[in-house]
C-alpha cells in the first residue's frame, strides 16, 4: 500500500515555505526560499525539488493547501488563511499551546487557541511595518549588518538605546542619529529588538496571553527579539525548531484533514 502525501504551501511576503507530510502528519520534506517577484514560481520550484528529493511524483500528492499572502495565486485544492494554518500547525507541534505569537515579514499576529487548534481570537498589526520582519530588515540595513547577525549583536549589548518611534521610517532615522551620536552598534540593535517586542506585546494585550506561548515566524530565530519579548511579557516562550515553516505545516495538515 502506497503512502499518501499532503502538501502545504505558504507564500509569504518575504519567503515562501513548502512542507510535505505523510498521512500520519509526520513531516516528510520541507523547503524555503525568498518569495522574490513571483512567490508562485518559487513555490512551484520548491515543490519540484522536494518531490525529486523524495523520489515522488505529482500524483502522489493527495491534496494541497495554499496559505500566506500569495495563496490565491497558487493552484491549490484550497486556500486557507495563515491564521487558521498557523493555529493547526502549532497545535500539532505543541498540543498545550494556547497562544501563538507570529512575526512574519510584513505582519505580526497573536492567535489565541482552543484545545485542538481551533482559533478563539486573533489580532494583527495595523497596516504598518512596525513590529515585523520588515522593520528588522530596514534597521539592519541602516546599521549595515546582516539580519542574521542582529542576534549575536543584541547579546553583546550593555545598555540598549531606546527607539521611541513606531513608524519604520522615523525609527530608521532614529537609528541613524544614534549611529551619528557614536552609540555602540550592539546597543542600538538591542533597542531595535526591544521596540519590536514592545509593539508585539501591545498586540498580545488585545487577545490576552495564556500559556503555553509559542513564538513563530522567521523573527523567532532572532534571540534578541525572543529575549526582549519574553522579558516584556514576563512569560516563557516556546520556539519551534523551524519557526518559519509552521504555517506551511498547518496547511499540509489541513490538506490531509489530519486532526490534532
Amino acid at each position: 500500500m502506497l503512502n499518501k502525501y499532503y502538501l502545504g504551501i505558504d507564500i509569504g511576503s518575504l519567503t515562501t515555505k513548502v512542507v510535505l507530510v505523510d498521512d500520519t502528519g509526520a513531516v516528510a520534506a520541507r523547503a524555503a526560499d525568498r518569495s522574490g517577484y513571483s512567490g508562485r514560481r518559487v513555490a512551484e520550484r520548491l515543490v519540484e525539488e522536494i518531490l525529486k528529493e523524495k523520489g515522488l511524483d505529482k500524483k502522489d500528492i493527495s491534496a494541497t493547501v495554499a496559505t500566506g499572502y500569495g495563496r490565491v495565486t497558487f493552484p491549490a485544492d484550497r486556500e486557507i488563511s495563515e491564521i487558521t494554518c498557523q493555529a493547526r500547525g502549532i497545535a500539532h507541534l505543541f498540543p498545550a499551546a494556547r497562544t501563538v505569537i507570529d512575526i512574519g515579514g510584513q505582519d505580526s499576529k497573536v492567535i489565541k487557541l482552543l484545545p485542538g487548534g481551533k482559533v478563539a481570537d486573533f489580532a494583527m498589526n495595523d497596516k504598518c511595518a512596525a513590529g515585523t520582519g520588515r522593520f528588522l530588515e530596514v534597521m539592519a540595513g541602516a546599521l549595515e549588518v546582516r539580519v542574521e547577525d542582529l542576534d549575536d549583536l543584541a547579546a553583546q549589548s550593555g545598555e540598549s538605546c531606546p527607539i521611541s518611534s513606531i513608524c519604520t521610517v522615523f525609527a530608521e532615522s532614529e537609528v541613524i542619529s544614534h549611529i551619528a551620536a557614536g552609540r555602540q552598534k550592539a546597543d542600538i540593535v538591542a533597542g531595535v529588538c526591544a521596540s519590536v517586542a514592545a509593539r508585539v506585546a501591545s498586540l498580545a494585550s488585545r487577545t490576552g496571553l495564556e500559556p503555553e506561548v509559542v513564538f513563530t515566524g522567521g523573527v523567532a530565530r532572532n534571540k534578541g527579539v525572543v529575549n526582549a519579548l519574553a522579558e516584556h511579557l514576563r512569560c516563557r516562550l516556546l520556539v519551534p525548531e523551524e519557526p518559519e515553516v509552521t504555517a506551511a505545516l498547518g496547511a499540509a495538515l489541513l490538506a490531509g484533514n489530519i486532526k490534532v
Binding site: S81, E82, V119
Partner: protein
C-alpha cells in the same frame, strides 16, 4: 463609479433614488424658492434636533450625508487632499475634509457642492469634531452658527443634563423666531415630531424583520436605505417611503427570502459603512454565506421621541444618542443585538475618521466576546477616505475570521 451589488436587490431602491434625487434637486435650486417662500437653508449635523428647524420651515441639508455620497462616488480622497492642501489635518474626519474640499473646489465635487447655507446648526451629541468643523464653516460663510451642547452621559440622563439642554433649545427657538420672522408654532412642531416618530417606528420595524432566518436584509441595504431617515426625518415623504420599504421587507420574510443566498453565518456590524466599497467589502462575507443582519450605525436612528412637552422630549432624545454614551452602554447594546438577532459573531470597523465611535471598540469587543462567547473582528479602514483602505490585509483578516466561524 459606484459598485454594483451581487445579491438580491430591493425593488424599493428605485423609489429611494427618486426620493433622494428630488431632495437634492430641491436643495440645489433652493436659491429660486428659498427667499420667496421665506425658507432659509441650514447646514446641520446628523444629530441636530431637526424637528425644531422644520417647525420654523427651515430647509435642512446634511454635510455628513453629502460626505457619504462623496465616499460612495469615490471622490473623497481627492476632496480630502484639497482640504489637506489648505492646511486641514489628515487626522480630521473625512466627512469634514470632503465637505471642506467641496467648498474649496466645487468643480471636483458631486453636484458641484452643496448650496451655500443661511444658517449652521451643530450638535455635539455625535462628536466634538463637528464644533470645529462648523466653526470653520461659519468663518468661511459668515453666517450664524447655533451650537447645541449635549453633555456626555457616563450613565443615565440626569435631570440637570436634561434641563441644561432644554434651556439651550429654548434659546435656539427664540433665535430661530427672530431669524426666520416666524413664531414657534407648537402645533407645527408637534406635527413634525409625530412624523419623526412614525418614521423611527417604521425603521425600527423594518430592522426588526431581520431577526428572521434567513435575514431579508444585509448591512449594505440598511446603509443605503437609511438615507431618508437622516435627511427627511420629520416629513411625510419619509413616512411614505418607509411604509413602502416595510411592505417589501415584510413580504420577503413571508416568503422566506434571504438577502444572502444560503445564509450560514449571521453577523452584527459596528461603525459607519465603508462607503467606497459598500458592496465589494460585504461581498467578501456574502460569498461565504455570511450576512450582516443588523448594525449599530443605521440603528442609531432608532431614537424614540418620548411623549410630553415637545422641547423636553427633544432634549432627552438628542442627548441620549448612543455615541454620547458610555462604553458600558454600547457594550450592552451590542450584546443585546447579538442575542436578539441570533448572531454568530460581530465585525467592528475601526474607522480612522470617527474617533468617538472607534476609540473604545477594543474595550467593547472584549466585553462582548466575554459575555456572549461569539467572536469579534476588528477591521481598520475609513468610511470615506479610500487611501486608508488596504485590501489584502483586510481580506486576510476577514477570511481568517470566517474560517473560525465555519469549522475548517
Amino acid at each position: 463609479m459606484a459598485e454594483n451589488r451581487k445579491y438580491l436587490p430591493l425593488a424599493s431602491t428605485r423609489r429611494l433614488e427618486k426620493l433622494m434625487t428630488r431632495y437634492y434637486f430641491l436643495t440645489r435650486y433652493h436659491r429660486f424658492w428659498g427667499k420667496p417662500l421665506r425658507r432659509p437653508l441650514a447646514w446641520v449635523t446628523s444629530g441636530a434636533p431637526v424637528e425644531l428647524l422644520r417647525a420654523f420651515r427651515i430647509h435642512p441639508v446634511y454635510p455628513e450625508n453629502y460626505g457619504a455620497i462623496c465616499g460612495t462616488r469615490r471622490v473623497s480622497a481627492q476632496l480630502c487632499q484639497v482640504a489637506e492642501a489648505a492646511g486641514y489635518s489628515q487626522d480630521l474626519c473625512s466627512y469634514a475634509r470632503s465637505h471642506i474640499g467641496s467648498i474649496l473646489r466645487p468643480e471636483l465635487a458631486p453636484m458641484g457642492g452643496l448650496p451655500k447655507p443661511d444658517l449652521l446648526v451643530a450638535c455635539n451629541n455625535i462628536c466634538g469634531t463637528v464644533l470645529k468643523w462648523y466653526e470653520a464653516l461659519a468663518r468661511i460663510f459668515r453666517v450664524p452658527l447655533l451650537v447645541l451642547d449635549t453633555p456626555f452621559l457616563p450613565g443615565e440622563l440626569t435631570e440637570s443634563a436634561k434641563s441644561y439642554v432644554l434651556e439651550q433649545l429654548k434659546h435656539m427657538a427664540d433665535f430661530l423666531a427672530h431669524f426666520t420672522g416666524r413664531r414657534l408654532d407648537r402645533r407645527e412642531l408637534e406635527r413634525h415630531m409625530a412624523l419623526s416618530k412614525e418614521t423611527v417606528n417604521l425603521w425600527k420595524e423594518i430592522r426588526g424583520f431581520c431577526r428572521a432566518k434567513p435575514s431579508p436584509l444585509n448591512a449594505p441595504d440598511l446603509f443605503i436605505h437609511m438615507a431618508p431617515i437622516v435627511v427627511l426625518r420629520g416629513t411625510p415623504q419619509a413616512v411614505h417611503y418607509y411604509r413602502l420599504l416595510r411592505n417589501e421587507v415584510n413580504s420577503r420574510v413571508q416568503q422566506g427570502q434571504g438577502a444572502v443566498p444560503g445564509e450560514k453565518i449571521r453577523l452584527v456590524w459596528d461603525n459607519i459603512a465603508i462607503w467606497y466599497r459598500i458592496f465589494g467589502f460585504f461581498q467578501m462575507f456574502s460569498e461565504r454565506g455570511a450576512c450582516f443582519v443588523t448594525d449599530t450605525y443605521s440603528g442609531g436612528w432608532v431614537m424614540e421621541l418620548t411623549e410630553g412637552d415637545p422641547l423636553e422630549s427633544l432634549a432627552a432624545t438628542y442627548t441620549e444618542i448612543f455615541l454620547n454614551r458610555s462604553p458600558e452602554f454600547r457594550a450592552r447594546q451590542m450584546i443585546e443585538l447579538i442575542k436578539d438577532y441570533n448572531a454568530d459573531g460581530f465585525v467592528m470597523h475601526s474607522n480612522r475618521s470617527c474617533k468617538p465611535y472607534s476609540l473604545v471598540q477594543e474595550v467593547i469587543r472584549r466585553r462582548v466576546m466575554q459575555e456572549t462567547g461569539v467572536p469579534g473582528l476588528v477591521v481598520e479602514a475609513d468610511m470615506a477616505d479610500q487611501r486608508v483602505f488596504a485590501e489584502e490585509p483586510v481580506r486576510n483578516r476577514v477570511q481568517a475570521f470566517l474560517e473560525t466561524l465555519s469549522d475548517i
